[in-house]
């Protein structure tokens, strides 16, 4: 399992560096700008915004000059989408992409069980996500004193737990879906679509009251963003992590049972789902 964990991290090395560097530069920029932002009276500025836009971004627009409002609006609000797409894409690709490229056919002929292989990859994936978020957190923490964010490292860490939970939830769902649909590409597309749709519905629910009924059943309802700095909603956080674990377990179960392809993408096999298909074909 640890061989596969190490291998997964090595494969992601470039992405860890790229994403880590990008996020840390962005974090440093945000922190350096905050000292100016908190001095400015933004009331006139926010008053000029359309009501709908103010509503879409919620309370953080009104609390823009506070550290949690600022980080929520400028960082965590977008990170769920930006890093989310990364998590979903790599979740969907984690195992099935190798199958499509024909690598799995050889690797699984080695004395490593499918379970060991699967959990090694999953652990590697979780470590990679944590490393990227860690680099981003360090970029916020290290210069925070000078930039007067007035937040302790522990307080700054809180929103990252929520972000990690959401990334794992959508990533694990993408992994599970990749075991069910014909290709990693389709799994990634569907999950990314769901993530973006959830994000939009979440924002629009502040404008349209009817959407509120829908949004309370979606994962992003539990995402606190920058507001987790004020205190983590642990009940929801645990549910999100449990959801991620459930999808990892389902993906594992599917991986143990499935036939491995030599290479390439699979088919939908919709005919298999038609009830009484055998009887119908026998009659015809």
């Amino acid at each position: 399992m640890f061989v596969e964990l190490d291998y997964t991290i090595r494969r992601f090395r470039g992405q860890i560096i790229g994403w880590g560097l990008g996020l840390s530069l962005f974090s440093l920029l945000l922190v350096s700008m905050y000292s100016d932002i908190k001095e400015i009276d933004l009331t006139a500025f926010t008053d000029s915004y359309p009501q709908e836009m103010m509503a879409f971004f919620g309370e953080s627009m009104l609390e823009f000059s506070t550290p949690h409002g600022y980080l929520d609006l400028e960082f965590f609000n977008f990170m769920i989408l930006i890093v989310g797409i990364f998590a979903v894409g790599n979740g969907a690709n984690l195992i099935v992409k190798d199958e499509e490229e024909g690598l799995l056919d050889l690797v699984l002929a080695y004395p490593i069980s499918r379970s060991m292989f699967f959990w090694g990859r999953v652990m590697g994936y979780v470590v990679v996500l944590m490393l990227i978020l860690l680099v981003s957190w360090l970029s916020l923490v290290l210069p925070s004193g000078s930039a007067s964010l007035d937040l302790s490292p522990g307080e700054l860490l809180r929103p990252y737990w929520g972000l990690l939970g959401q990334l794992l939830l959508f990533g694990s769902f993408a992994l599970f879906l990749s075991m069910m649909v014909p290709s990693s590409r389709v799994a990634s597309m569907i999950t990314s679509g769901l993530l973006v749709a959830n994000y939009l519905v979440q924002g629009l629910s502040n404008i349209n009251q009817d959407l509120e009924k829908v949004v309370k059943y979606t994962p992003l309802q539990a995402y606190q963003g920058g507001y987790a700095i004020l205190g983590i909603d642990t009940d929801w956080l645990i549910i999100i992590f449990e959801g991620a674990l459930l999808f990892f377990l389902l993906a594992w179960w599917r991986f143990l049972l499935r036939d491995l392809r030599v290479a390439g993408e699979g088919g939908w096999k919709l005919r298999e789902l038609i009830p009484f298909r055998k009887k119908l074909s026998a009659l015809s």
Binding site: V3, R11, D105, A109, L260, R271
Partner: protein, 300 residues
């Protein structure tokens, strides 16, 4: 059963509604080199992948050194060196990184000096990045990783595909050495000269069924020969078709006739002794003719 490296009985495999294997029965003795032949889509790769538990059959029994691959795939994989027909490697790795990774998957228990020796014999530079290798050099990486732990069983799908003739000879030598060291070699191939040179026994699969199991020599002896006879005076060639296994292909004025003869020529020659024969020609048949016979005609 303990004398066999692989035992397959009544193996059936469906892909959806398509039946790929129709009850394959095959025994591979310990220490033998068996050539596994068949046209594209006949079930060669499916059989090999069932042996490795990459895919699960709907019916049948498989044992590798007495071990059921479905209940203990790790043990089977530990004893096996596998070269897939469509070899894919991690493009961004160097060859030695890729081989180190494979070695780690085997618990780092192999001798690295043997890996280097194999690479040297195959003229493979292990410091190069895989994406910069030609298909022949990638195939060499595949051969090295299959052989590097000196496995008890080698499952090789088209082992010399993409290799130049010199390298093919080196691979044959390596496989014979592996056999001499106690390994069993089970390989599929379309290169018939390779089968003749390497295989001690041949199994031919067609439409998911084993249609022939024999030695290359026996197969050649079983070949249908074409015999051309010229007579000194006109003879009715139908007289010879009463013989078992003799079929008239063409005749010209009774002075020349071409027959196809299955098995040995003894009966035909004895019958010919009563006639004025001017000349007799036989075309010697290669394995290729035999394989074409199986590849082209329906089994049974």
């Amino acid at each position: 059963m303990k004398d066999y490296a692989i035992t397959i009985e009544g193996l059936e495999k469906y892909y959806g509604s398509f039946k790929a294997l129709h009850g394959v029965n095959l025994m591979v003795k310990r220490g033998e080199i068996l050539g596994f032949l068949g046209p594209n889509g006949s079930g060669k790769t499916t059989t090999i992948r069932c042996i490795l538990d990459h895919i699960r059959p709907q019916a049948g029994i498989i044992r590798v050194f007495g071990i059921n691959p479905q209940s203990n795939p790790r043990m089977v994989h530990a004893l096996t060196g596998y070269l897939p027909g469509e070899l894919r490697l991690e493009d961004n790795f160097r060859v030695n990184q890729q081989l180190r990774y494979f070695s780690e998957l085997r618990g780092n228990q192999l001798e690295w000096s043997y890996v280097e020796e194999l690479a040297e014999r195959l003229n493979l530079d292990i410091s190069r990045t895989i994406k910069n290798l030609s298909s022949g050099n990638k195939q060499k990486v595949g051969i090295v990783q299959a052989l590097m732990h000196k496995p008890d069983l080698l499952l090789l799908d088209e082992p010399t595909a993409g290799l130049d003739p010199l390298m093919q000879q080196e691979v044959y030598r390596l496989l014979r050495e592996a056999q001499a060291g106690g390994s069993t070699v089970f390989f599929s191939s379309h290169i018939l000269s390779e089968v003749e040179v390497l295989a001690e026994r041949v199994a031919i699969i067609r439409n998911g069924l084993i249609v022939e199991e024999s030695t290359p020599n026996q197969l050649t002896e079983m070949a249908i020969r074409r015999v051309k006879i010229r007579f000194m005076e006109p003879i009715d060639p139908i007289l010879f078709t009463t013989l078992e296994g003799v079929k008239l292909i063409s005749s010209r004025n009774g002075l020349e006739a071409i027959f196809e003869v299955e098995g040995d020529l003894d009966r035909l020659i004895k019958k010919l002794s009563g006639f004025p024969v001017k000349d007799l020609e036989t075309a010697s048949h290669s394995l290729e003719d035999i394989f074409l016979k199986y590849y082209q005609t329906e089994p049974g």
